[in-house]
């Protein structure tokens, strides 16, 4: 039994069998077989080993002929390993004594060899040896699985997916009924995997570090997404413990569900508009179910990632129309234009790999030099505007000039549509994300150019403190309540009020009960959060008075460190909601 720790990315407990994705997506269909099937599995393994050994000898001959003895040696080594009686004997023993399937026995055995090399810790020689062994494992599995190699969208039983990394479109394909957990070696708390898993309510743990060598497809695993841990091959007591935990969590469910239709209003009558953040049209109904009064942030990146070509105007249009139709004529839907850099487009030919992608050509900057792409999205949004209350927002705006350029391009698109006689709503509210410090500092000027602001706290905090949240050497500097950030929030909120425009907060901060009083006290009246947090936020608001909130903000702004503020906010929340469990 092995416990691995990572970053808690999406809460929930699940117990199931592992599906390990290597770079070729090979998966092991079955772990154990009945005793009657054992002879057949033994035969399959013998045949597979023989095939792959012959293959290796063939390659040795071919490669030696073309490139010489030294190159051919690699395959000689493979063949030799495969021809070794010990290999066959060891794997057959696993099948006989444990009733493992051929695939599972191969995988277990090879991984134990790799682990042994890992433990002896002998550097380079071991690294090459490990790579060879993993290569052999793959070849044997390929031979065993033959045509039956399945892809991600063929999952029929409940599995917990293990991978080094998951692309957004891979995660997006997951059906919460079959994928009951996700664990990745890399990633961070705000990575796409975390966001998507949270949106899909699939327990997830990321940034575990080296993990894949310790788990085989078919292993029984427990995942606790809320605590950020994974247990591989748990013993009976542990299984019972987590089954109980899971039962308890399911029974409690959403403690605030009853608030779904209640108003988000403070005790002394100040209303706060609560909206939902979505990545896919299919999440729009969830927003409504969770009591959101609209979509405060529709992240449109998922229309672009992992496709072989850019999305067509129709693909954009269909997605936006769907969301608008679900939300209806009077609930706002704020669509954020493309917020990615070229590095995220898998079909972009990597000519210039940026050294600092977060300070590079991405989001609105990328759009302004790729006007066709930009206009396509804007056209689709305008065309969809007749189906509801759509608003457009531009990400990563850092100067007034950029905003002006965006507006002028939008005007061009409006003229094009008008000329073609295509229907669209005029005067759609336009807003800008405030996430680059320069925009926060120039908020008073920007406020005159837009109909609303939306503060992207995740990036604003990172840029302001110059700290990468996913870099564990500096992650401790990242705090949404660092005094510098609080002053910027105040600045933006005041600028908004002075210009009479709405200021929304999207970003993780708006979904955290701990920060609600502070945000309301700073003058913010619109929060957009991941749908499942909305009721909890509403609960805090309903127990708050504006006077209280104002005092909290005022006190926090006097403090000199994030830690001071956090402690203060915790105390305040504890007094405000004595029955809430502190996280």
């Amino acid at each position: 039994m092995q416990t691995k720790y990572g970053v808690a990315a999406s809460p929930g407990v699940a117990i199931g069998y592992a599906l390990v994705l290597d770079t070729e997506g090979v998966r092991i269909p079955r772990r154990v077989v009945s005793s009657i099937e054992v002879p057949y599995e033994l035969q399959r393994v013998a045949v597979a080993i023989q095939h792959v050994a012959e293959q290796a000898r063939r390659r040795e001959r071919e490669v030696t002929a073309k490139l010489g003895r030294d190159a051919g040696r690699i395959f000689a080594a493979h063949a030799f390993l495969l021809e070794d009686q010990l290999l066959r004997y060891d794997i057959e023993t696993l099948i006989r004594s444990e009733n493992y399937s051929a695939e599972y026995a191969v995988s277990r055995h090879m991984r134990s060899k790799v682990k042994m090399l890992d433990e002896s810790g002998v550097g380079e020689l071991a690294t090459r040896g490990k790579a060879d062994i993993i290569d052999l494992e793959k070849q044997l599995l390929h031979d065993l699985l033959g045509e039956k190699r399945e892809s991600l969208d063929n999952i029929t039983e409940s599995v917990i997916v293990f991978a080094h990394d998951l692309t957004p479109s891979e995660t997006a394909q997951f059906d919460a009924k079959t994928v009951i957990g996700i664990a990745t070696e890399s990633g961070g708390p705000t990575s796409h995997t975390a966001i998507l898993a949270g949106a899909l309510s699939i327990p997830a743990v990321v940034a575990v570090g080296k993990l894949l060598n310790d788990v085989s497809g078919g292993d029984l695993v427990i995942i606790d997404g809320g605590e950020g841990l994974i247990i591989i091959e748990p013993d009976r007591d542990t299984i019972l413990k987590y089954e109980e935990l899971r039962r308890m969590q399911l029974a409690v469910g959403d403690p605030y569900e009853s608030l779904k239709d209640a108003e988000a209003i403070t005790k002394d009558g100040t209303k706060v508009l609560l909206l939902g953040n979505i990545e896919f049209p299919s999440e729009a109904p969830t927003c409504l179910e969770r009591g959101a009064e609209g979509v405060g942030l529709y992240r449109t990146e998922f229309l672009y990632v992992n496709k072989s070509t850019d999305p067509t105007e129709e693909e954009h249009f269909e997605a936006y129309k769907e969301v608008l139709s679900v939300m209806g004529p009077s609930r706002p839907v704020v669509i954020r234009t493309l917020d990615l850099g070229a590095d995220k487009f898998t079909h972009a030919t990597g000519t210039n790999v940026e050294k600092n992608p977060f300070l590079g050509l991405r989001s609105v900057r990328y759009c302004l030099v790729n006007k066709t792409l930009f206009k396509t999205q804007l056209r689709a949004i305008l065309r969809a505007s007749i189906y509801g209350d759509v608003q457009i927002m531009f990400p990563m705006v850092s100067t007034v000039m950029e905003l002006r350029q965006c507006r002028s391009i939008l005007r061009e698109v409006e003229e094009d549509l008008a000329e073609a006689g295509i229907d669209f709503k005029r005067g759609i509210p336009l807003g800008t994300m405030i996430e680059v410090p320069s925009a926060a500092i120039m908020a008073d000027v920007l406020a005159k150019q837009v109909d609303f602001f939306s503060i992207g706290t995740n990036d604003l905090v990172q840029y302001t403190l110059a700290a990468d949240r996913n870099n564990e050497t500096v992650a401790s500097l990242y705090s949404p309540v660092d005094p510098a950030v609080l002053r910027l929030l105040r600045m933006v909120s005041d600028a908004g009020t002075a210009a009479g425009i709405t200021v929304n907060v999207c970003g993780e901060m708006s979904g955290e009960p701990l920060y609600v009083s502070l945000l309301v006290g700073l003058g913010l009246r619109q929060l957009s959060a991941t749908p499942r947090k909305i009721s909890e936020i509403k609960h805090v608001i309903r127990n708050l008075t504006l006077a209280d909130a104002t005092r909290v903000a005022h006190d926090a702004l006097q403090m000199e460190s994030a830690r001071e503020v956090t402690t203060y906010l915790r105390e305040h929340l504890r007094r405000l909601l004595p029955d809430t469990v502190d996280r």
Binding site: D70, R73, F80, D84, L86, G123, R128, G129
Partner: protein, 70 residues
């Protein structure tokens, strides 16, 4: 990997038994798995044990491979 392969192939080609000792760990010289598991690195000291027909010849050639992994 490569010298280990050469070593094992040579060991297998002969009639005698071949064992390699590193400290108190023993590996069957005819099994590449065993040899990899032994993790013999440069400058490690190992003891070769060869027993059977043609042992002298084999042991010299094996020692040569170890000395000049190339």
């Amino acid at each position: 990997m490569r010298p280990a392969t050469d070593f094992a192939e040579l060991a297998v080609s002969g009639l005698c038994d071949v064992a390699v000792w590193k400290g108190d760990k023993r590996a069957n010289g005819k099994s590449l798995w065993d040899l990899i598991g032994l993790c013999v690195m440069q400058h490690n000291e190992v003891i070769l044990e060869v027993d059977g027909d043609g042992a002298h010849d084999v042991i010299n050639r094996l020692a040569d491979i170890l000395a000049h992994p190339g």
